[in-house]
Each structure stands twice: as structure tokens, then as C-alpha cells.
Subunit: 230 residues, 2 copies
């Protein structure tokens, strides 16, 4: 049994949900609000951040990359050509480079700000940093999304998937972060047609369905969020 | 031949230099000032950040984690018990967790701020963001260092090295970030005696010698920087 401590709008949690879905693993989902700094959660993972994956036995595995590498090491060989990292070191490096591009760089420049300002702060008390969104931060982050869409388009014009011939963690990381923003209507799909078509391909995978069913109380998704032909 | 594009005070570059040193690989070092956004550097690695490792052949490998995983995959098996990741998935996950703790969390909370404010900004033009250090940011970062020293002490009181029985990437990541700050006199070693003793052990390794010889023009290192018995 795999348990995933996650938040529905945490892009890194979404990345792990997609990865588990591609591997045919259905986790038990436990929603966590990291800003509440729940004692049992901090005892389990000193990082205090989602996602955290727990197998039947310790240790708890915190963070998108740690979980991705662990899943590849424990399940990868059995997945054959559905493995989410390529087989050769250079191909694996390229998939990891792009996984980090979205899980670190895109997060720092865009998804971290938009999700925090528009979602997390609604649930935080004033002491926890809650309140209305800082729209200046949201606007800056939105403008950064355009540049990343163009980068996706640039890559996909030369490749089948982001890191090469096969779907890899790179595609799931990029799609996970974009999906959180897409719910909020903060992805300007008209920026790059190739990026839009790539996202439609990822979005139509069965692993994506649970994400498309996520709903935030009091905040409906954008009109195209769950639409596979957007 | 391995070429490493690095900056002497970039903690992630230092981490890769230590890792290469432990593996007995002597790289050709090419100093890069990422804030100058040199065209050839950006063409090689769109991330625009150090470190970037280049073997005889493409692709260029950007970023501490991508390089660490690549080196383990291409050299790890030949290193025997000097391998820098453990052999079992849970052990590897713990080493990666702590590698990320220092390369991401410690960087975001401490080393990024101190190195940028006190070192990089000296070399940047006003247009690049140069100028005097923001001492409020430096003070906040310095205070965060104390908490991380206590975490190192906590781990080492139960283990031989940070992630377990053997020296791993986790120790090299932690020591790399601390070494940049130690040069600047910004590590309060009196905070945790166990952490200090652990650092002395890492610092006395032959892989550390090239780092201890680094000098910043116009800025002498702290009195204890190159002292193995500090």
C-alpha cells in the first residue's frame, strides 16, 4: 500500500499522482495543509512540505525528485517501454534536466506564486500568512508562464515528447505544474500552439483523469480545465 | 575529459567539484559568471546557471542533481564502497533527501542569499543587480544557518555520516554550501559541536583541498577557512 500526503493544488503532488497513475499504482491519498505545520506530519518529514510518499514501511519519502527516483528504482524495470526515465545515462540526464526545469525553475518563477497567492492563502489564517492575493506577484508569474510555454513548444517541435521519443517524468512534471495553473485560468494557451497540442496529449492520458476531477470549494475551474478538446 | 563550468563561490559548483574529487576525476575548470548571461553559455545550457558539466560529447549537463545522478550512473559501480549513493533504494532515497535538503532548502534559506549579497553583487554591474550587500537579507540567512547546523548535529549524533554509514552526496552537498559561507565567516560553529566535528572530518578529505585554496580577489577568507583544526 502506498500513501501519498498531498495537496490537490500542490504541483509537485500532482506530478507524483501522475507518475503513480502511469505506473498503475493507486495510492491512498491523504490531504495535507503544510502551512498548518501538523506535528505528526513534521515528525514524519522534517521538510514540512508536500508531497510525502509512504510505503508499508519507513522511511517516508519527501519531495518530487526523491519520490520519482525511488519509484524508478523500485518499479522502473518492470515497466518496460512505459518506464518514465530513459535507459541510457544521457537520456536520463535530459529527462532529469527537464523534470528539474519544471519542478524547480517553473515552480520558482510561476506556479509557486500563482498557487500560493490564489489558492493556499484562502485557507491560511492571517498568522499563517493568509489573506487576499498579491496580484502584482500573480501578474509577474503569469507573464513568466508564456516564456515556458514557448520553451515547451520549442522542444516539441524537435521531439515526440519533452525529453525525447518517450513520455518521461519531464512531461509529467511540466503538465502537473501547468494543470494547477490551468484550473485557475492562468495558462495563456494561445501563446504556443505546439505546446497546447502537447498538453492536450498528456491531458488525455488515463493517469490525468483524477486530476481533472479535483475541485476547489468555492472556486470553479476554468471553462477548459476538464475539456480534453480545449 | 570532463569540463566543469563553475563559479568558485557557487555552492552547487563546489558540490560537483567535491563529488568529482571523491571519484578521482580532475575536471578542467572554466569559471563562469552566470549574471553576465554569456551567449555561448546560454546556448549550451538554457538554465543559465552554474554548474554545467561537459564530457567529450554533448549534451551539457546542468545542475547539481542532474550531474550527481549522471556521475553515479556512469561511474558509481566502479567506485565500490566509495560510491556516493548507497546501494539500496531506501538508503539512496535518504541520501537524495538530504542532498536536496542542502542543495535546495539550505540554498533557498541561507547560502543563496549570503553568497549573492556578499560575493556576486561585488562583480555585477548596477544593471545586473550589483551594489552593496543587503545586510538585512544576510542577517536573516545567517540566523537560518544555525538551525541547519543543529539539524546536522542531530543527524550525526545517530549516524556516522549524514545519510548513514558511508560518506554520500548528502555530506558533500552540506559541506559545499557551508564552505562558501565559512569563507565569508558566516558559519557559527559554536552552535553545534557535533556539526563542527563532522565538518572537520569532511574538510580534511583530499577532495576538499582545491576548495580550501580558492581565494576571492580583495576578500580574504575567514581565519579558520583553510584551517583543518578550527
Amino acid at each position: 500500500m502506498v500513501t501519498l500526503y498531498h495537496h490537490p493544488f500542490c504541483p509537485h503532488s500532482r506530478f507524483v499522482r501522475l507518475s503513480l497513475g502511469e505506473m498503475g499504482i493507486e495510492p491512498k491519498l491523504a490531504e495535507e495543509r503544510p502551512w498548518e505545520r501538523r506535528r505528526e506530519f513534521l515528525m514524519m518529514a522534517a521538510e514540512g512540505a508536500t508531497p510525502v510518499l509512504v510505503e508499508d514501511h519507513p522511511p517516508a519519502l519527501p519531495g518530487a525528485e526523491v519520490i520519482a527516483e525511488y519509484l524508478d528504482e523500485t518499479r522502473g524495470l518492470g515497466l518496460g517501454d512505459r518506464r518514465l526515465l530513459p535507459d541510457d545515462p544521457a537520456g536520463r540526464a535530459e529527462a532529469r534536466r527537464l523534470m528539474a526545469w519544471f519542478n524547480v525553475k517553473f515552480f520558482n518563477e510561476a506556479s509557486c506564486w500563482i498557487v500560493r497567492e490564489k489558492v493556499y492563502k484562502r485557507f491560511m489564517s492571517p498568522e499563517q500568512g493568509g489573506g487576499g492575493p498579491d496580484m502584482q506577484a500573480v501578474r509577474a508569474a503569469r507573464s513568466n508562464v508564456r516564456y515556458h510555454l514557448r520553451y515547451i513548444g520549442h522542444l516539441i517541435r524537435g521531439r515526440n515528447w519533452l525529453a525525447g521519443d518517450r513520455l518521461t517524468y519531464a512531461d509529467l512534471a511540466a503538465a502537473a505544474h501547468l494543470s494547477s495553473l490551468d484550473y485557475l485560468g492562468d495558462v495563456q494557451w494561445d501563446e504556443d500552439e505546439t505546446a497546447r497540442i502537447w498538453y492536450a496529449r498528456v491531458k488525455s492520458r488515463p493517469s490525468f483523469r483524477p486530476l481533472l476531477a479535483d475541485r476547489l470549494p468555492g472556486m470553479a475551474p476554468s471553462a477548459t480545465y476538464a475539456n480534453l478538446d480545449f
